[in-house]
């Protein structure tokens, strides 16, 4: 068997049935094997699209997403996608071609040191130096990507290695003496957590992406209900707790709900689940949950104590630790804390001014939520569109919200929707987009058209880089600079040029009927909604402030 055949055979052994990629010289031997293989290959229009699609696929399916690119520019085009997956702990395996071993290090045509480049943005990476290493490396790559704290792993495959012969034997186990993730929580620490929860008067769950990646939806719901503990989620945690539940507080942090931020500020016990105390969540760190004892449950020991002092650290898989807590804990009655939160909920709801002449972007998201019953997979770009999607769509299930959290990658959402739709052909996939972000990977319209992926793109078009404009308005005395994109393409016509249905909505009275029409269309659609140009995302915690110090609490601008 050749090296290329070994690569594809390894993919099959790992249960991979689809990969996202873009061919080129150094990966030709691999593509020649793919030509005969029963693995579906989705040809994106840019390698970045392939990396994001693999990431989106992984987020909605829970499986490892796989992407492939050629050496040099092909590989470097994956970089943003890998950094994105790394920041959000998404299991992705990236295969890259490399120039032949005889040419490595000579600045050869399309040579880039991709293992060097991606060292800080992958969980691990490999430069394969002999064909006989391929089965072991592939086994390890998938193992590392999906176990422990998941993340991207890159395998760089020199062209000559993929043509060399080897005796293929796929290892059943991995031998990685330095890699032994801890899944079970320490018994004594769990006991301390149980005691702390039982004694708390004002407890709050702060749930992050780890709840979703560990599959702890049921365990969290059980514990929250049993002990009457309200739940706030991070952007990455959206959908890990039902958005319709009375104990749900919405998202916390910079654009979180006022009541989530107040609850965290006033709580006496903060239970962090698979979350990492990011600066967008905590605001000024010294004033984050200042009165609280903190329990931090995370599978990555390095996250514990990284940003805040933790009273009860528990290293382990969120699902397994919550299950242990559930076994030991007695039901707990609420002593007035939920009523206090209810008063905040009533006093400071998420709101916006009603449409009056212009289309309010929040209204568009609300309509999407109503029309889909909150049951669609929503991907977002980055910026205002992302925050409005998080605030005004009600997520009830895990793996239904796909968004670039840590890296904040504009151009992520649309290719991620491609991957999501490939992974979940049974689901309605909607890419909530902005006019700026959409143009960053607009070429993936070609992919959507070629495979007739019925993704619905809804552009909240304000002709601005809206979030940057908002910061310039609030913190730079309205000196708008380099944010005006009013001169943009007619997105409906661009879609039509690809043979895709394109629509434009300018009037708020047409939003609902227009979205209905789009959702009813069997194929892909691009809906360009012209929204209020200067609408802001509120509430907002200005940089360097405590999270209970919000502006725009009344909503609207």
């Amino acid at each position: 068997m050749t090296g290329a055949e070994a690569v594809i055979e390894s993919l099959k052994r790992e249960g991979v049935d689809v990969i996202f990629g873009y061919p080129g010289g150094a990966v030709l031997p691999i593509y020649d094997v793919l030509y005969r293989a029963e693995i579906r290959h989705i040809l994106t229009r840019h390698e970045q699209g392939a990396a994001h699609a693999a990431d989106g696929y992984a987020r909605v399916t829970g499986k490892v997403g796989v992407c492939i690119a050629t050496s040099g520019p092909g590989a470097t085009n994956l970089v943003t996608g890998l950094a994105n997956a790394y920041m959000d702990s998404i299991p992705v395996v990236a295969l890259t071609g490399q120039v032949s071993t005889t040419l490595v290090g000579r600045d050869s045509f399309q040579e880039a040191d991709i293992t060097g480049i991606t060292m800080p943005i992958t969980k691990h990476n490999y430069l394969v130096k002999q064909a006989s290493d391929i089965p072991r490396v592939m086994k390890e790559a998938f193992h590392i990507a999906r176990t422990g704290r998941p993340g991207p792993v890159l395998v760089d495959l020199p062209k000559d290695i993929t043509t060399h012969e080897l005796d293929f034997s796929y290892p059943e186990t991995v031998d990685l003496p330095g890699y032994k993730p801890t899944y079970e929580g320490n018994y004594r620490q769990v006991k301390l957590a149980v005691e702390a929860i039982s004694e708390a008067q004002r407890p709050v769950f702060y749930a992050g992406g780890g709840v979703i990646s560990s599959g702890a939806f049921d365990e969290l719901l059980t514990l929250a209900e049993k002990c009457r503990i309200p739940v706030t989620t991070t952007l990455m945690g959206m959908g890990c707790f039902p958005g319709t539940h009375p104990l749900y507080l919405g998202m916390l942090g910079m654009h979180g709900t006022a009541y989530a931020n107040y609850a965290v500020t006033h709580c006496d016990l903060l239970i962090a689940l698979g979350a990492r105390f990011d600066d967008r969540v905590t605001g000024v760190i010294e004033k984050f949950a200042p009165k609280a004892k903190i329990i931090h449950i995370d599978i990555d020991p390095a996250e514990i104590g990284k940003n805040v002092r933790v009273d009860i650290p528990i290293v382990g898989d969120v699902r397994s630790v919550l299950a242990s807590i559930n076994q030991q804990i007695e039901p707990r009655e609420d002593g007035g804390w939920l009523e206090e939160i209810e008063r905040w909920k009533t006093a400071y709801p998420l709101q916006y001014e009603a449409c009056n002449g212009t289309v309010k972007p929040q209204y568009v998201v609300e309509q999407l939520c109503e029309l889909t019953g909150g049951d669609a997979i929503i991907t977002t770009e980055v910026g205002q569109n992302q925050m409005w999607a998080a605030q005004f769509y009600t997520f009830t299930k895990p793996r239904s919200f796909v968004s670039s959290g840590g890296l904040g990658t504009m151009g992520y959402g649309f290719p991620a929707a491609v991957g999501a739709q490939v992974g979940r052909p049974d689901k309605l996939v909607i890419a909530v987009s902005g006019d700026g972000s959409f143009q960053m990977n607009i070429q993936e319209l070609g992919t959507v058209a070629a495979y007739n992926l019925p993704v619905k793109v809804v552009i909240l078009n304000n002709g601005y880089l809206g979030m940057v404009r908002q910061w310039q308005e609030l913190f730079f005395h309205r000196r708008y600079y380099q944010v005006d994109m009013a001169v943009g393409p007619d997105f409906a016509k661009v879609a039509e040029a690809y043979g895709i249905k394109g629509m434009t909505i300018r009037d708020y009275q047409h939003v609902r009927s227009g979205l209905e029409e789009a959702l009813a269309h069997p194929g892909p659609v691009v809906v360009n909604v012209m929204v209020d140009r200067e609408e802001n995302v509120f509430p907002m915690v200005p940089a360097g402030k405590a999270i209970d110090d919000m502006i725009g609490l009344e909503g609207g601008s």
Binding site: M119, K123, L176, P177, G178, D300, A302, G305, K306
Partner: protein, 164 residues
């Protein structure tokens, strides 16, 4: 900030050194010295890293190092009873008139002269950091032309390796 000696056992694979070094730089930790070579097991290398850090940073360094797949074990051995050594080669300006004085200093420190020519001598010295600093200070008046130091290597004392 306190100086820490961190012993890191790693799989002896290409690129490991780069991973460790890049981890320090991208997280903003400073390395004073780093020494690395294979151990009694040719598949395992040992790095001795000297870094300045307060306790919180040190905890992060240790945890981040442990996250590297090829890192097998990380131990802060600063407070363990240990033997630590460094080797330095020091090229000192020497003339026929003062060469004898230099040789006398070298003898006091139980160092060796490993190269002589009409205008300089090269001294090889091993010892702990204090000894290094002392001999360098003594030789400085003669004019030090060049110093090469290995960085510290360290081993915990006793029959069994105790890397807590």
């Amino acid at each position: 900030m306190k100086k820490h000696i961190i012993a890191v056992l790693v799989q002896n694979k290409s690129g490991v050194m780069a991973r460790v070094a890049s981890l320090f730089s991208r997280r903003g930790y400073n390395i004073d010295s780093i020494a690395v070579c294979a151990t009694e097991d040719p598949e395992v290398s040992r790095m001795t890293i000297v870094a300045r850090a307060d306790d919180d940073i040190l905890e992060q360094i240790t945890k981040q190092l442990n996250k590297l797949i090829e890192v097998i074990k990380v131990s802060d051995i600063t407070n363990d009873p240990l033997v630590d050594r460094e080797l330095a080669l020091i090229k000192v300006g020497a003339t026929p008139t003062n060469r004898a004085d230099i040789i006398q200093i070298v003898d006091i420190f139980r160092a060796h002269i490993v190269d002589v020519n009409p205008r300089s001598v090269t001294v090889e010295v091993t010892g702990d950091e204090g000894k290094m600093e002392a001999i360098i200070q003594m030789l400085r008046p003669y004019g030090i032309k060049e110093i090469v130091r290995t960085g510290k290597i360290a081993m915990v004392r006793g029959g069994v390796e105790n890397n807590n």
